[in-house]
């Protein structure tokens, strides 16, 4: 055992603190990659990025052991996360801008067999891989986590003590897992992070564990995610059997050669579309797309900072990350089957979720559906080959959606958990809520795609590409584009529906039933069952609880970030900063060669190798003339106007229906419209009955089957076993009264008689 411990310590120490030479690491994988890794310093710092939050989780655990009642856990968390953010920033600034950095901490799962050729070793290190994509993600993950941690220090203050520690422990663990997911050097590391964020999401959704809805929502999230994870797991295994490795560098190099590891041409295989589809299944589970979206709205049961960080900004974009990261695989298929599915999956989900969001009354749920819808945009972007747009939208969305959620959270915090837009109005005039309203407005403008906001630019990049990419490349891409344009209008409408109802207009508010937002509160149960009676009773003497410095500071920072993010569109060589980052990552490919297999993968190989290929670009409308048009116009130029008009129409409709002439919180002009549209309105409000439908076709049958199995096990399988004991027992019992006298002599006599009979028989047989 000493030997083993020694090895571990040695590995950890040498790699994490003495830094294994990245060049040597690169050379280790040189066989796969043809060399060319720039040996950038900063490997040790990189390794610290995930380890700091992990240390934070442990530290908070120690606080929990000492039953710390102050805000110390929160400040420790924020401090450590801030350091992690700074480290990310340092890594980014010290990065040469094209070569991936790799750091291997220790061997995690590794096996060797056979004669040790390609595909006869499984080598998944506990290792990190940094390129443009992971850096972009890490920057906003650590940055937002720091800010939201600060916000939560105030938001969760009611729970100081064990609940506080539980919250921040899981919070830290989440950042660690997310870092592993994004920085993972191989698919198994990615899977580690993938499941880790799932666990933290489960723990944090169910944070208010006395609420059954919260507990059920946590379980639903975990289980639905697991279904997607099965796809990811099988995709991973199939990747291994096809390409012989799970490490990104080796994998992309093999794909770059256009063949499987056994040398068969990739085109001819079925794995070329099967693997992306399986990975996509995992991505859709995590990012709540298509059939998997049902868990995300329910996840809004968690505390609002959690919804902002995990269920809006970071974790749910992990699916987008996965698809972007594995882009070489997706474009390796000349038919682009998987990407077409991604396109349509994203488009349908975006539209579907937007329709539901329009009819909801719970503002947090509206934001939840809006997240699903926006994630649909991102997938749609990846699908129509607007990788840069998709990734940029992830980035801008992270900021403005976090702003929106945190503003909603501030409202919820201030009005005792009230989230119903029919019971809140005119917050602009409520003292202390000015910053919240302004932040909310900035977030709404971004989400609605108001011109010159960050959301506007990122959405345009995606939408324009729908027409640029021809329908023959991605099946029906322009039709999906029209659907997305319609969705953009709906988005503007439902966003400003919330804003006009809640934040402006006549002042009126009714507090929620959740005066103390406690999880570990002894009175927690009381609130649950007399919620009905409380409403008006409280209104008499209720004073809104205006946010204090931490919440306001964070809102200002995030709103500012959302505004400034727009500026990133104008910097860099490849259509904005995000374009630069994508260009220096595995997500980059050469669109000119899509469909032409060998050239396309060559482009991928270049990108991975950090080559100087500038032949094409995801959004490079001006470099090649012949691409699709929208109504005869160049989408790259005119999409700015088209989407602006669509956004204005949506906002205008919301203005007319929900602001103009509204005198009270509960009603608006939209009500008559809603009545006119029955039953569509009710159906949309009831989320198209999807939950009920799933319950009916999946959960109930499975439960019935389980019960059947249980009885089958008890009666048939165990019954057969019992027969072996039962038959002899029954037969002896039927004979026992006659034979079992208990008198010794009877038994002896019978034995003698038996022996005598045997002897006689033997004698007869022998003679």
């Amino acid at each position: 055992m000493t030997g083993i411990t020694g090895t571990i310590l040695e590995t950890v120490l040498t790699t994490a603190f003495a830094v294994a030479d990245p060049a040597a690491e690169a050379a280790g994988h040189a066989g796969a990659h043809g060399g060319g890794h720039g040996a950038t310093s900063g490997g040790a710092l990189m390794a610290l990025i995930p380890l700091l939050p992990l240390f934070g989780a442990v530290l908070v655990g120690v606080f929990a052991c000492f039953n710390e009642k102050s805000k110390l856990p929160a400040y420790a968390t924020v401090g450590l996360l801030a350091v992690a953010f700074v480290l990310t920033l340092i890594t980014y600034l010290g990065w040469n801008g094209h070569d991936p950095i790799q750091v291997r901490l220790w061997d995690w799962i590794g096996l060797e067999w056979g004669s040790g050729g390609v595909g006869q070793t499984l080598d998944a290190g506990f290792a990190f891989y940094f390129d443009g994509l992971s850096l972009l993600w890490m920057l906003f993950v650590t940055g937002l986590a720091t800010l939201i941690g600060l916000y939560a220090s105030e938001y969760m203050e009611h729970d100081a003590g064990l609940g506080y520690c539980r919250f921040f422990g899981a919070f830290n663990l989440f950042v660690f897992s997310m870092s592993c997911l994004v920085m993972g050097d191989n698919l198994l590391m990615l899977f580690l992070g993938w499941e880790g964020v799932g666990l933290c999401s489960y723990l944090l959704i169910g944070y208010y564990y006395k609420k059954k809805a919260a507990v059920d929502a946590g379980m639903k999230a975990f289980v639905v995610n697991r279904i997607g994870d099965l796809g990811l797991l099988i995709g991973t295994l199939l990747t291994f059997t096809t390409f012989g490795s799970l490490e990104f560098t080796e994998l992309f190099a093999t794909i770059g050669h256009g063949s499987t590891a056994s040398g068969a041409p990739l085109d001819a295989t079925w794995q070329v579309w099967a693997i992306p589809l399986l990975l996509m299944m995992g991505a859709f589970g995590k990012s709540a797309q298509l059939f998997f979206y049902v868990w995300l709205p329910d996840a809004m049961e968690g505390p609002t900072p959690v919804s902002a960080l995990i269920h809006a900004a970071t974790m749910v974009t992990a699916g987008v990350y996965l698809v972007a990261r594995m882009m070489p695989l997706f474009v390796a298929d000349t038919q682009l089957i998987a990407l077409s599915v991604v396109t349509w999956g994203g488009a349908i989900t975006a539209f579907w979720a937007a329709t539901i969001a329009m009819a909801q009354y719970d503002i947090k749920r509206i934001m939840g559906y809006s997240t699903i819808s926006q994630l649909g945009y991102m997938f749609f972007g990846l699908g129509v080959l607007a990788t840069t747009g998709g990734v940029f939208h992830v980035f801008t969305h992270a900021f403005f959606k976090a702003t929106l959620f945190l503003s909603c959270g501030a409202v919820m915090h201030g009005f005792a958990g009230q989230l119903d837009l029919r019971k809140l109005s005119g917050l602009w005039k409520v003292p202390g809520f000015k910053i919240v309203v302004i932040a909310m407005l900035i977030g709404c403008l971004n989400l609605a795609g108001f011109p010159f906001t960050a959301g506007y630019f990122s959405k345009d990049m995606i939408l324009a590409e729908a027409w640029v990419t021809s329908d023959s490349t991605i099946w029906g891409s322009s039709w999906a584009g029209w659907l997305m344009l319609l969705t953009a209008g709906l988005t503007a409408y439902y966003t400003f529906r919330v804003f006009f109802r809640v934040f402006v207009g006549p002042v009126e508010y009714h507090p929620g039933d959740d005066l103390h937002d406690h999880a570990d509160d002894a009175h927690g149960e009381d609130h649950a069952h007399d919620a009905g009676q409380h409403g008006d009773h409280h209104a008499d003497h209720f004073h809104p609880h205006a946010p204090k410095w931490a919440i306001n500071l964070v809102l200002v920072a995030l709103a500012g970030g959302s505004v400034l993010a727009a500026g990133l569109y104008f910097v860099g060589d490849h259509h904005g900063w995000a374009g630069d980052m994508v260009h220096a990552s595995s997500a980059h490919f050469d669109p000119a060669h899509i469909g032409d297999h060998s050239a396309a993968v060559a482009g991928v190989g270049d990108a991975v190798a950090g080559g100087e290929s500038h032949a094409g670009d995801a959004h490079a409308g001006d470099t090649h003339a012949a691409h699709g048009t929208i109504l005869g116009l160049d989408p790259h130029k005119y999409m700015y106007y088209i989407s602006a008009i669509v956004g204005f129409v949506g906002i205008g409709v919301a203005f007319v229906l929900h602001f103009a002439g509204r005198t009270e919180a509960a009603t608006s002009r939209a009500d008559s419209l809603a009545r006119a549209m029955e039953p569509v309105h009710t159906w949309a409000e009831r989320k198209w009955y999807v939950d009920e439908f799933y319950h009916f076709i999946i959960v109930t049958p499975l439960k019935v089957i389980s019960h059947l199995f249980h009885w089958f096990d008890k009666l048939v399988i165990d019954g057969i076993v019992e027969l072996f004991g039962g038959v002899p027992k029954a037969s002896s019992e039927s004979l026992s009264p006659a034979t079992q006298t208990g008198v010794l002599h009877d038994y002896a006599l019978r034995m003698v008689a038996g022996v005598a009979v045997v002897l006689v028989v033997v004698a007869i047989v022998l003679y």
């Binding site: 030997g3 220790w106 050729g117 595909g119 499984l122 564990y209 056994s262 439960k703 389980s706 399988i717």
Partner: protein, 574 residues
């Protein structure tokens, strides 16, 4: 080291005697002392083993033999390889933990009976893993039944007598048939093997000799029968669907320490015996029937998992989850490739840790509330935060969360099944890529993968009922009249902490701690099996190697190229 190994068997027996002759009040202290000494010895054995072995962990160490009845080929011989030594360490680790867990649960007047038998059980368990002689192995294998019978029969809950009897008779009957199969193999070696070292009696039960020669002298038909006989015993022990019905009953009724040892070690006797006997003694039959066994394992994974979901009794739920989990273990074993068997061996250890801990936790809860019914109890997070923390932790280890131990073994088993036979990578020209030689196939991996979802469903369902929600306690429960603290006390935490720490270490450093240790003997075993299967005559009398590819001769070094092609003809294709 040999001495230490022998001592780990003898010391518990000695302490068992001491426990019997000392006053009942002292029983638990003596038992704790005995198991702790053994645990320390175990730790030293592990340390010595891996430092002595250096690069060659496949070699047997601490080998010793004592002639007993040489005329009948009976020796008392012991020895351990990496796999045995790890399982011994697991058994020795669980020893003191079980004693501590039973500290207050056992009434003092009956403590001598309980702890005495617990010590005997420990000796028998170590004996099984250390045995290098068939008779010693079988004796210890069966002798584990007796202490466990007493523990269940005397210290179980309401339905204990029935559970104990069923457990004893079911597994005992199975083992007898297995003995017949083993003896047949030994007889075949004694009569047919040329060159085998049979000893003075012309008959040997030495496991090393048997595994080396039996597969060569048994015809494929005989191997099928011998394997069936052995599986009768070992599959019941594991338990493999449909031989599992004794397990939920026994687990439910057993006292906490009994459940922990039953799940932690006794079930592993079955899989260990499969690894030690079934695979090397009858490789051709194993290869041929592996898909069938794989199907049983997968049925077990899904079927038992779904049954878990509708249980109300927490302990029964965890018991059925063992059936489901052990399905992965058997599946990996019969994938006959490195990742599968490594995963399986890791599963034996990891399942012992995580499920053992779950049984401990359920036991601690039962000691406080005297119920295991999920409808009567719930929301314990509010009252027992420490207990809840550990519960969630071990549930996650059991669900297979990466970073904890369960994932590594589950992934490797699934991968083993998936890559066991992957036709698309076996391009004739280019050899094999990513895939390995084996009898199962991708669909086995996919089907087993669904178990991951089901595990999440039933374990989280239990968690949401017991840990989360509003506090729900059985009627008439009164904390003030309980001698135990409301949340877990120091003693109870001490039983859980080492298990939790190992779950983390095995989850984060599986390669350094486990995989590197067991890889060499497993690869050796696989090479042996491959060779036997490739050389085996087919039903039509030709050699598999010839039938597959005319150019390649089967030898260990080129097996990876040749045996796959051959494998197609021998195996039942998935």
């Amino acid at each position: 080291m040999t001495t230490m190994l022998v001592l780990t068997i003898l010391i518990p027996l000695l302490f068992a005697v001491i426990v019997l002759v000392r006053p009942p009040e002292a029983a638990k202290f003596w038992a704790l002392g005995g198991t702790s000494v053994c645990f320390l010895l175990g730790a030293m054995i592990v340390g010595r083993f891996f430092s002595a072995a250096g690069s060659s962990t496949e070699t047997m160490q601490a080998v010793a033999s004592l002639e007993w009845l040489p005329a009948l080929g009976l020796n008392l011989s012991i020895g351990v390889d990496a796999i045995a030594v790890l399982l011994i360490a697991l058994a020795l680790l669980l020893g003191p933990i079980c004693v501590l867990a039973s500290w207050t649960a056992i009434p003092t007047d009956r403590a001598r009976l309980f702890f005495g038998w617990l010590l005997v059980l420990q000796a028998a368990m170590v004996g099984v893993f250390a045995a290098r002689d068939l008779l010693l192995f079988y004796t210890c294998f069966e002798f584990t039944l007796l202490p466990m019978f007493v523990l269940i029969n005397e210290f179980g809950s309401t339905n204990r007598k029935r559970a104990a009897t069923k457990f004893f008779l079911y597994t005992f009957t199975g083992s007898l048939i297995a003995l017949a199969g083993l003896v047949y193999a030994a007889w075949a070696v004694a009569t047919r093997a040329s060159g085998a070292d049979l000893g003075p009696g012309g008959f040997t039960l030495d496991i090393g000799v048997l595994t080396q020669y039996a597969s060569a002298v048994l015809t494929p038909g005989e191997q099928g029968l011998v394997m069936a006989a052995m599986l009768c015993g070992f599959a019941v022990k594991v338990p493999l669907f449909p031989f599992h019905t004794w397990l939920p009953l026994a687990h439910t009724e057993a006292p906490t320490a009994g459940s922990v040892l039953l799940a932690g070690v006794l079930l592993k006797l079955g899989t260990y015996a499969m690894y030690r006997f079934v695979l090397p003694l009858t490789p051709v039959a194993v290869y041929e029937y592996a898909p069938f066994i794989g199907v049983l394992a997968i049925i077990g994974i899904i079927y038992a998992g779904l049954i878990c979901w509708v249980q109300r009794d927490i302990k029964k739920l965890v018991a059925y989850s063992s059936v489901s989990h052990l399905g992965f273990c058997v599946l990996g074993l019969f994938a006959l490739n490195t990742s599968g068997i490594t995963g399986s061996v890791l599963y034996m250890l990891n399942h012992g840790l995580s499920t053992g801990a779950l049984f401990l936790l359920v036991g601690f809860m039962y000691e406080r509330y005297h119920t295991r019914d999920m409808d009567q109890i719930g929301g314990l997070a509010a009252k027992m935060p420490v207990w809840s923390f550990f519960m969630v932790f071990f549930v996650m280890a059991s669900v297979g969360l990466p970073g904890l131990n369960g994932f590594v073994s589950e992934f490797l088993c699934t991968m083993g099944a998936f890559t066991s036979y992957t036709p698309w990578t076996t391009d004739e020209l280019n050899g094999m890529v990513g895939a390995t030689w084996g009898p199962l196939g991708p669909w086995f991996g996919v089907a087993a993968g669904t178990g991951v979802i089901i595990a999440a469903i039933y374990l989280l369902y239990m968690t949401s009922k017991v840990v989360w929600g509003t506090l729900n306690e059985p009627d008439g429960h009164d904390d003030d009249h309980s001698p135990l603290p409301i949340d877990l006390g120091g003693r109870e935490i001490a039983t859980l902490l080492p298990l939790a720490a190992l779950c983390l270490v095995f989850g984060l450093f599986p390669k350094q701690t486990l995989i590197d240790a067991v890889e060499a003997p497993i690869n050796e075993q696989i090479a042996f099996i491959q060779q036997r299967v490739t050389e085996a005559p087919l039903r039509d009398g030709t050699l598999a190697a010839e039938a597959g590819s005319p150019t390649s001769k089967a030898s260990a070094s080129v097996l990876n190229e040749s045996s796959n092609a051959a494998g197609r003809n021998v195996g039942v294709k998935p």
